[in-house]
Symmetry: C3
Subunit: 350 residues, 3 copies
């Protein structure tokens, strides 16, 4: 933790300071748990009532909300974004160990730029190229021919397989596997014959990849993750998928082979997207939806069953299997009604 | 395997022995595969017919079921629980390697209590504190400042990130990641800016965590897993989730950020729970359900589509998109019917 | 990459060559990206229009399709299968490092056959037995008593736990865990008591397992994966599951405890199969389906909600909870109609 004066913070964050410029804070906290030394924030009005009893040393909030708070305030347009910057300032990453740990196995043909940190028990293969100030966590395996940019950070026990490419400022959390062989099989009678997976995974700049994620290498061409994409934990990206810039995807999502997802999409948790689809830019998909067709229009897409008490779900779910029959019976009734009406009309007209 | 006499077993398990006290068994088996040296059990009456042909050396069962079995019997109230204890006795864990393996990298500031086992290729960071008789499997990475209690067991290739806390008797199966950075982002134009994740993961006593699980560290406060929680494989626990004591969750479950799950809940496979929800104690959720709202009442909740033959599913699923229209058409028919009935009544009353 | 003449390729692949026998190719590419030195293929008529503008050095296709292509052709019955073989020929696996890396920790009681490769930072336990020409990737942990056949390949950071058995030519991609302890618990008041998991995982020949997969060891008997099974990434196989020969399962699938899946099944992404079920041979399950009952008949099974625009999904999903009530109201209307019809008939007959 760093200790900072409010006037320093205001100047760095481009915020309007209301209160004591010499007051210091040294950590972040929620409005509820904050003490005198804490910086807190209000970005959602739902929590404005928490201001009344907060002991925060300073609060980041909007002009409008600042009227509900009489303590020190950093007034900005986007409190959440400003909080992100303030928190990074107050909680700098702990110093990493320096240099190449003596237990790391680094092939003699690998090129490591200045400032590269390689932790204990790491394996780095032949012809690997790693940019300045990149940190490779303990137990990572970076296979032959991999290229990693500057200021990247690999967590622990990450695996990057041969010839994959990571841009600058890429983060890969622990346990993830980049460049495993895609699931490609040709039938030979009852048996499956493997399709060799000769493509790579190519990842742009400022991409963030969660823990225990899998991104398969391409079958022929490359699997592509464009700049600024953010992937949460336990996600599956199949071979030859292409994800557009700044798309974000929550945990347990899966995209099947050769699908192209546009830029600036948001994909909620446990979404499944079938293979060989095209999804345009600015699509938003809610949790647990199955996408089985192209999405040609920006917008929000959904497709899950809402929760219910077991007993009533059981009754309703059984009816799901009768839906088509119900629709036909409904149509039959409507036709009878129409005929009855026509008969009545005919009677009147007679 | 250990070899034990039935009278020793009965005394240890608090069971009533019927049969030969000097008879010995040395392993467990199902009723079908058991031989003379095997201990077996019957906890579900559905399998009572298997007693007739079983060759088990002894069977754990209830007084009521013991009448269907003329061999050696250990009679108890809860055969499954008693079986758990008997199996642990007959199949003690194989002896772990002792001490700290010479290839383990242990920071000089780490404190390892007596009896701690550290396997090969492990990395243990600065200020780590590990309690008595805890076993750290091969390839694990225990990051700076982590605290692990007594008699814990980490499988192989487990990652525990900085400053996380594990209680006593915690088990983490292989490949799991505890304390990865949560998925927190603020929008800055089209780009995402990372919210620093400054909280920890704090895990109580007697917690069991499956393989390739991810538990993210808190954004500000800590992610909390209370005593006795059991998590299966490939589960995602997002930042600032809190799971109450003795809740059990099956594989591929996911809980999004800041949700609080009560105590003694059971959550079946592939359940997704949205963020910022409150779920009370004693809630049971069936497989593949999406929980998108608070659950204020104990009980069973569900929400999935039942399996069907493809052809009929296809017809019915297409009707799902017409449900609201169908409901309105149904209401219109009912109104016509009511009007017709009122007209008829009026005619009669005239 | 290897460089091969078309006559050599035709002879190896059993294909009919049309064109220049001395022409050479050295890599594979799609019809669109192919250059003069590339071999490409057409297996799906949907892409036949790409032939017109392709620069491929040679194309694998059927007799029928060969009329749309005037360049060099390798004519076969099954172009995709033939492509698989050609790609393996043109892109042989890069030479692995030879022998046992000096940082690998191999127990003195382990038996490694000739040609076994053990990469850096690997841990191999007591009594392990590994067959000829098997390759163990960097960071893998092979626990005590494990048996691995010939010509297998473990990726990086794979964990195989004690006493598990892998057949010949088994591939396990990086990060996967074979033999973790199954999720078996007996209730003791509010707490859970662990059921010792004393079985193994037994894997047949020619099995392929993706990245970050979990296969739990059996509770009493073994978990069994039969010959030729193919599992994609992030799959969960619970204790005592048995999967029949040549069944293929896509990413994020899960099979709960003791379920038996037949041979030659295909299971799409994110399918969940409940425990203690029996699924016969030649069953095909579409994406995101929940299987909660036995499947006694070969065929295709489904059960998911189709995607929709959010606004209409929201309306329709709300109606799901009224389905049973709607069905009853529909029946009531039909009865009224029938009664009205009977009344009318009675009137006529009077």
């Amino acid at each position: 933790m760093s200790r900072l004066r409010l006037d320093e913070l205001a100047s760095y964050l481009g915020a309007l300071l209301r209160g004591d410029p010499a007051k210091e804070v040294d950590h972040v906290a929620t409005l509820i748990t904050a003490d005198e030394m804490a910086l807190s924030f209000l970005s959602n009005r739902k929590y404005a009532h928490q201001l009344a009893s907060s002991h925060a040393g300073v609060v980041i909030l909007t002009q409008a909300d600042s009227e509900c708070w009489c303590g020190n305030a950093l007034i900005v347009k986007n409190p959440y974004l400003t909080y992100a910057k303030a928190a990074a300032l107050l909680h700098p990453r702990t110093l990493q160990p320096q240099g190449i740990h003596q237990t790391a196995v680094v092939d003699s043909s690998a090129q490591l730029a200045s400032g590269v940190v390689v932790a204990a028990n790491v394996t780095i293969g032949a012809r690997v190229c790693i940019g300045e100030n990149t940190v490779i966590g303990a137990g990572c395996v970076v296979d032959d021919g991999v290229v990693i940019g500057q200021m990247c950070r690999l967590g622990a026990n990450v695996t990057i397989l041969h010839d994959c490419v990571l841009g600058d400022r890429v983060v890969v959390e622990s346990g993830s596997v980049i460049g495993s062989e895609g699931f490609g099989w040709a039938k030979d009678g009852v048996a499956w014959v493997k399709i060799p997976q000769v493509g790579r995974v190519v990842i742009g700049n400022d991409v963030s990849i969660g823990a225990n994620v899998c991104i398969d290498r391409g079958a022929i061409d490359d699997t592509m993750i464009e700049d600024g994409v953010k992937l949460d934990n336990l996600i599956q990206i199949a071979h030859n998928v292409r994800i557009g810039a700044h798309t974000a995807m929550a945990a347990h999502g899966a995209i099947a082979g050769s699908t192209r997802v546009g830029a600036r999409c948001t994909i909620a948790g446990k979404v499944g997207i079938a293979g060989h689809l095209t999804i345009v830019d600015d699509v938003h998909i809610t949790a647990m939806t199955m996408i089985s067709h192209d999405l040609h229009q920006a917008g929000i897409y959904s497709g899950a069953v809402p929760q219910d008490h077991y007993a009533s779900w059981r009754r309703n779910a059984a009816r799901f299997r009768q839906l088509d029959a119900m629709a036909k019976r409904l149509r039959a009734l409507e036709k009878q009604q129409e005929r009855a009406f026509e008969d009545a009309q005919a009677l009147i007209n007679d």
